[in-house]
Structure formats: C-alpha cells, structure tokens
Amino acid sequence: MATNQLIKGSLTTIILQLLSQHSQMYGYEITQKVKELSMGEIKVTEGALYPALHKLEAEGLLDTYTEVVDNRLRKYYKLSQKGKGVAKEKVNELEKFISSIQAMLNLKMA
C-alpha cells in the first residue's frame, strides 16, 4: 500500500481530478472512489481529506452546497470555474513529475 507521505503531495491533484470527472461528490464518496480506482492501494483518511477539501474551497477552487440526506447533512463539492482550469494544470504538473521520476528510476535500473 502507498505510504501517507507519497500520497500527501498529490492529494489535492487527486481530488481535483476526481471532481473534474464527476459533477459533484461528497467526502466519503471521494475516499471510496480513490480506494476503488487504486484497487485498495491508496486509502485517504478523514484527517487528510477534509483539511485538503476545505483548503481548496477557501482558495476558491471548489464550490459547495449542503443537502439533508438520510437524516443528516451532506456537503457536496464541485469544481468552480477557476478550479476547472487549475485541475488541468495540476494534473499536467503531476504527470510530468511522474514521468521524471519514472525516467530517473529506469536510469538507475539500467
């Protein structure tokens, strides 16, 4: 399983990418989607997810609204106009970074 430190730097990009593929998502749904897509390799904890979501909201990258669902309040997140642009940038940035790391690892192995 991927360690927390490896995930830490890319969590916001993962969140932005997921929200660019779904019109809206709530916190627990995000954790489950990450788990499903990574086939259980990446587990996002509450302590990492919500501070990251709230930071993105404060930066104006996410819009939110609240609904009463099954006897409780549910807060939904979606990308703001600004967030859509930033999501693309962040994903490109991470892809470049992964290729660089990949190149370095291949170099060492060769």
């Binding site: 916190g27 904890t45 609240t66 009463v68 409780r72 309040l73 807060k75």
Partner: protein, 220 residues
Amino acid sequence: MEHKLSYNEINEIRNWLKSRRINYLDIQEELTDHFASKIEQIQAQEDHSFTRAFLEARQGFYPNRFKINYLAGSFFKNFGLWFWEIKKIFTTPKWLSILLIGFVFIALFSFNIISFAGVESNFPSSIIFYSLFIVLLAESFFTKAKTKNAGYITLLGSSYLFHYIFLFVLWNILGDSLSKPFELLIYLSVIYTFSIAWVKLLISKRLDAYYTLKLYLKTQ
C-alpha cells in the same frame, strides 16, 4: 438491502464527535455524514450491529488533526473567512455584476430618499422590496429548493437593512455629498459588495445551524 441509520444513531455519532472536541459545526456535520456512510457500508457488507460497525468505522481516526486545523468559533477564523469570501468575489469576473446589481438595487430603493439625477421622486421603493420578498417566500413554500430560497430571503432582508443603516451613517458623515447622488450610489455599491460577502458567510453558518437544530428536534 442497504440499511439506513436512524436519527438516534446519527445523533450518537454526533455526540461522539462532540466528546472528541470536534466543536466546529461544519466539520462536525461533515464528519457525522462521513462516519454514517461508512457505518452503513460496513453494515451492508458484513451485517454488523450499529455498535460494532461504529467501532470498526472509527478505527484510525485521529481527532487531533481537526483540532489543529480548525479553531472553533475563533474571531480571527471568522474574520479570515470574511476575507476569503471577499477574495472570492474579487478574483472572478462576477464582482462587476454584483457591484452592478448592488448599484441598481440601491438606486431603486433610494428613489424616495435621495434626489436621483436632480429629480425628486416619491417612488415607493418598499413595494419593490416586499414584492420580491413575498415572491421568494411563496416560492420557498411551493418548491423543494428551500435552502437556496431561504438564503435569498435572508440576503434580501439583510441587504435592505444594511442599506438603511449605511444610508443613515453616510447621511451624517457625508452631508453635502447627498446632493451628488451618483457619488453616493458608488459608495453604497462598494459597501454593499463587502456586506454581501459577510451576509453570505452568515447564511451558510445559519442554515447549517438551522438544519442541525431541525434534525436534533426530530430525534427528541
């Protein structure tokens, strides 16, 4: 079939979070939903009792992380949020439309107070306000979008109140400028934009508190 938690079970999660000093209302409600969803999933997969599923769901939860990040009810936190709201308005092109709406709104409501473009008018501005208020109130009763409309009603009501407070203050401070209504409208529109940020913040907090209270009362 997926089992849904009862009001009492939801309240048990909320009380547990409170006992862990997760006092900030927004975080408390969001984590309540998080743990409730997790428990429901565990129960659907493993047919556990609520107590057992809850114990399983909260494994690996460290409340300290939340205490550090969110200072409950802090004045500076709220002040910071207000600036974030203002920043949000000014970083997108919508600030111009908000300013324009504020300008039109104030111009309409000020018709019977100040002389606009040199023409004295007794236009009954209150009619516009109450018509809008009644339309929104009626709509909130007949549509499902209660949250959104309740927000609009509060925003409209607060703006109207702000408008008269600011006008009263400016009347005393500016004095002569009242003979220049165009300048006065600019001042008011800017203040109105800042007020919107503050009211928007209050609405989000009030609505969350309102729904929490509503859910709490249902459990009694």
